[in-house]
Amino acid sequence: MSRQVNRRPEGGRIDRDRSLGFTFNGRRYTGFAGDTLASALLANGVMLVGRSFKFHRPRGIFSCGAEEPNAIVQLGAGARTEPNLRATQIELFEGLEAASVNCWPSVEFDAGAVSDWFSRLMPAGFYYKTFMWPARFWPQYEYVIRHAAGLGRAPAEKDPDRYEKFHVHCDVLVAGGGPAGLAAAFAAGRSGARVILADEHSEFGGALLGLGAGIGGKPAIEWVESTVGKLRGMAEVRLLPRSTVFGYYDHNDLGIAERVTDHLGPAAPPGPPRQRLWKVRAKQVVLAAGAHERPLVFADNDRPGVMLASAAQAYVNRYAVRPGERAVVVTNNDSAYQVALDLDDAGVKVAALVDLRPAPEGPLADALRDRGIDVLGGRAVVATSGGRRVDAVEVGRLNDDADRIVGGTRRINCDLVCVSGGWNPAVHLFSQSRGKLRFDAAGACFTPGDSYQAERSAGACNGAFRLADCLAQGLAAGAAAARDAGFRKGRAPAAPKAPEPEAAPLRAVWRIPLPGDRARGAKQFVDLQHDVTAADVALAAREGYAAVEHLKRYTTTGMGTDQGKTSNVNALGILGQVTGTDIAGVGATTFRPPYTPVGYGLLAGRDVDHLFDPARRTPMHAWHESVGAVFEDVGQWKRAWYYPRGAESMRAAVDRECLAVRNSVGIVDASTLGKIDVQGADALELLNRVYTNAWDTLKPGRCRYGLMLGEDGMLFDDGVTSCLGENHYHMTTTTGGAERVLAWLEQWLQTEWPRLKVYLTSVTTHWAVAAIQGPNARRLLAELCDDVDLGAFPFMSWRDGTVAGIPARIFRVSFSGELSYEINVPSSLGVALWQALMTAGARYGITPYGTEAMLVLRAEKGYVVVGHDTDGTVTPQDLGMDWIVSKKKKDFLGKRSFARSDTARPDRKHLVGLLTEDPREVVPEGSQIVEEVRPAPPMPMGGHVTSSYWSAALGRSIAMALLVNGRNRHGETVTISLPDRNVRAAVTKPVFYDPEGEKLRA
């Protein structure tokens, strides 16, 4: 275990009493509570943490936050391993294990680094220009490319963790808990508004945690603590630390990813979820997301030891870590001066501060000079040297246009290079909200322009980089947001004072020129994660990929896991330079959600495993389970498919079930059928409009079958509707059609026919339905029902009565072609009814049958199932059901479509029966009928088999098909082409059993 060699003896927001052990790349280290993995590694002197995506160049910790392009690690092992996390955002916990990604065998000696030797052959987009010959080799090329790509690894086991969601509404959502965000939340919260303040870090304060600045004459951190304390005291303010506002969607709908227990590692308690997704609908939003420091683009600016200046500052101040021993600070703006001072305070030797601006002056420069630190104006770091860590920089003098290095260069030894190329406001959420960005020439950055949704930006993300401005903007934005959300008291409190020296303007230099003797070949990185260099940007522009999106896609700039937080603006600047347009003319790339990557598990929440999707149960479900039924999924319903006895095969079970119905009596759970109660003076008129047949003659006590069509004339649903009384009907639909039909009828009633006096009520699940079918059905019913005259209860009628003492509504309808009663009872009595029928039916060998037997039985009768024998392209005429299409009614839904030229064709596909020449042959459903047998495809097809079964009752196979001109081809023999052979079958009428319907009406 190594010592924390770079830990400062005191200070920092770490808890030195809580020492935490962790391993990185197999070596054990210790850090402190409050550390990130990155700060702990730096404390232990570990700078080299990863390898780049393309060239496998050594890379070090570059930032201290979400923008990190280099320090990408695989966290943990086994089922909880997680790829591609940023070491700068991982809070240290005891037992943490992490490893570098994308390197083999180790980060120090990475075999993939050979690709750096060939980097000349791999400019941007090189793969579009090669790997084309010979064409058949592409899969091999691609195999190599694929295995070289990718960063970390997916776990090999199922995720053991839980993810939770919250829907929440608020008046003001504040995104970001730095000075502006805290101020905004405070101003909004004191108005009484419902406020959510979310910040991605473990504690609020943002940049103030890493700065030594003062507010109101006290250290800034005291203001942070006092403000957080006040916010905690406000009942309607919700503080969400470790929570990233990652997405800003339509109508102020925002997503927040809260990391609830990630920071606890194995010590996480079992109760709470690992992460929680907050789905927020906010009346008003205040964006206070801060800013990211921008690197400078110079040769070999990717060496470990090159770091954002503000990150170095945060490491020394917040984490009490010295990221190096001897630093060079290079900047084009004032902010890095304080960094140099803080480094010096921390005992890091500052070898020089290199300022691109010609004549650095002011109190900060003076302070540095007072400490004996070289301030080199008008100069830039042009290159670095070193192996796995920077060991020196070369500094040269810029000419006035900053496009040339004049004179020689000077070498300065250092192991840390702190870079600052200015600041990019974090406009991601603003841009996601659809706000328009504008380019701010003074700050050389994109700032929020016109808002689009109910939001306002405050602080650094709004281009305000001075603390006093951040506080003032935050307070104003929070107060205004509360006011706009309806809280009148929303007046901004006065901003505390936060003195800062006046800042001098920055000098935007997008690419530091190379000394004349090295104008070619040097790698000046723009995108560290994807190894995109300034030369790549220039190449793209030269080839014509000059549109911003072309540049991004061709070079892959900004397409890494950091989404270009440190690279995009520099790339645009260089593109502008190369193409001779200014950056404002080049335009910005689109910021797409999420701001930082969001876990899949989090997005799925608890909609996994048994809660993935509801399994709908009928009232008799538990009974079916208890007798070992096999279920099938029908939509969300679980339906009993068949009831095997012992080791019985499905075929044997279904045969047995079918024969029981044909020979005695079977019972089937039909509860899933859709049921709609239709009432009102115009109920009959509605039926006439939505069904193809006429309903005027349907008397109370009687039932009628009907077809519903879409307006395109195609079959939509079918079912039996019964007349319960004057203006009162009970409509049934298919199982899958229940919701659809109700919605369809409601739509017509509400939108097109509002004058019709009809009320519809779904009673689908109010009723449990047990259907008894078979020649013994009447005898069975008679044993349990003595208040209905079964002798005067004809087919297609219904009666109210009592079955086994249970009040029931009995429909004499049939989907099997047998004598049949569908007995409806209130759902809570479904099991009681079922059991009574089973008990009384024992003497008849009553047999429960499932959906498969039901399908066989109906196919024997030639009854179609909508969605099984039809597919949305089938008319009633195609099915040979002209008999149910009224010729008298002037109109009904879908009628007009029949007359269209294609729909009226006499040779459409018609429903036919098929009897295979070999009666034992059951062709698979979905088999195609070919019109001409050829040795090999293609073969012209004439239709397909829609239903196909073994019919135990008939002792042979039966099938139905949709066949071109089929109605006129009865008696013909057709060929069904299976993958391995052909089957011949005779075309018949699609009725195989009891064609006269004698059993039905018995």
């Binding site: 997405g247 999106e549 959600p593 999420p594 799925a604 979905g926 397909h944």
Partner: protein, 416 residues
Amino acid sequence: MAKYSIFSLLRNARDDHQNWPRVWRSPEPKDAYDVVIIGGGGHGLATAYYLAREHGITSVAVLEKGWLGGGNTARNTTIVRSNYLWDESAAIYDKSLKLWEGLSQELNFNVMFSQRGVLNLAHNQHDLRDLSRRINAIRLNGVDSEFLTPAEIKAFCPILNTSPKARYPILGASLQRRGGNARHDAVAWGYARAADARGVDIIQNCEVTGIRRKGRKVVGVETTRGVIKTGKVASVAAGHTSVVAAMAGLRLPIESHPLQALVSEPIKPVLDTVVMSGLVHVYVSQSDRGELIMGAGIDAHNSYAQRSGLHTIEHMMASIIELFPLVSRLRMMRQWAGVVDICPDASPIVGKTPVEGFYINGGWGTGGFKATPGSGWAFAYTIANDRPHPLNEPFALERFSSGRLIDEHGAAGVAH
């Protein structure tokens, strides 16, 4: 057109890549062209390319309101397959697939067409019936398609959850081995470069604002960069077909909907095929960069906004984890939406219109990318000859009056 190869790469490496030529010109629009193509996406550029290559028509302008390939070409999930149910669809999509198979060489631009196979999963008896019907129809149309059992699925794609205990267990799948992915941007760029080399003017940042007619005949287009005279205007503006058609005075049976997609962070290879599931509404593949690319069904409402949302992807992600439990700890890196033109029968409209000289190629719905070469090829024929090629004849606008729809919704029995 300077030829791309390993040799040109070596030669240019010697010169530090300073001498690569431009992939396409940036011409000013001329006063007149024989053909003006509205829309510089894959289909429009392919149309231009085949007009020049197959029909010798090089006085062609492709007008793109933004950057070429910036619409749905840049936003789709890059799936290529031809496993369609109806004969008409099989013909045009398989023509397309055959063109894909030689496209990198044809264009001398590596479009990275990767035939890693496309799996369509079945989760219930209804799915299985439908799958069987499709597999047989596809096979008999001379297109490859085979059935895989759950055990074969597991062997072919080990990370799929084939447990029979899943909420919607995988009961089978169809596999089209010739299907796969391609690099979407490269298709637009490759066609653009090749069309440009044959004299086609590709004009970016040029939005068409009106279509000029004399009687029932097209005579030109108005653009943000001036009026262009032409006798033939071809709309290939995926997502915006209705908007362009309205300029020609036409209403179409098309509605524009958002289609959302997302990618994960790049990981080492875990998925070496394309997996689609209609029941749980997702499709997923892994890119050469290592990202898992996935999409779902369309959002219900009309939209031109290219806006993504959260609820759609939450649903999508639950489905993805149901299919691939191992991806739960991966992370979404980017999400976006495209705007797709949907026809009532989920098939495209490719052909002539009642306005003489105005041609439409649109309504490809969620599946336009795969059709890019075939669509461009057939559409070029239609424009050049002023009559449809047999491949696209069934996809005429008239089918909505005659009722001869080509219903490719896939989910049989659902009222569309």
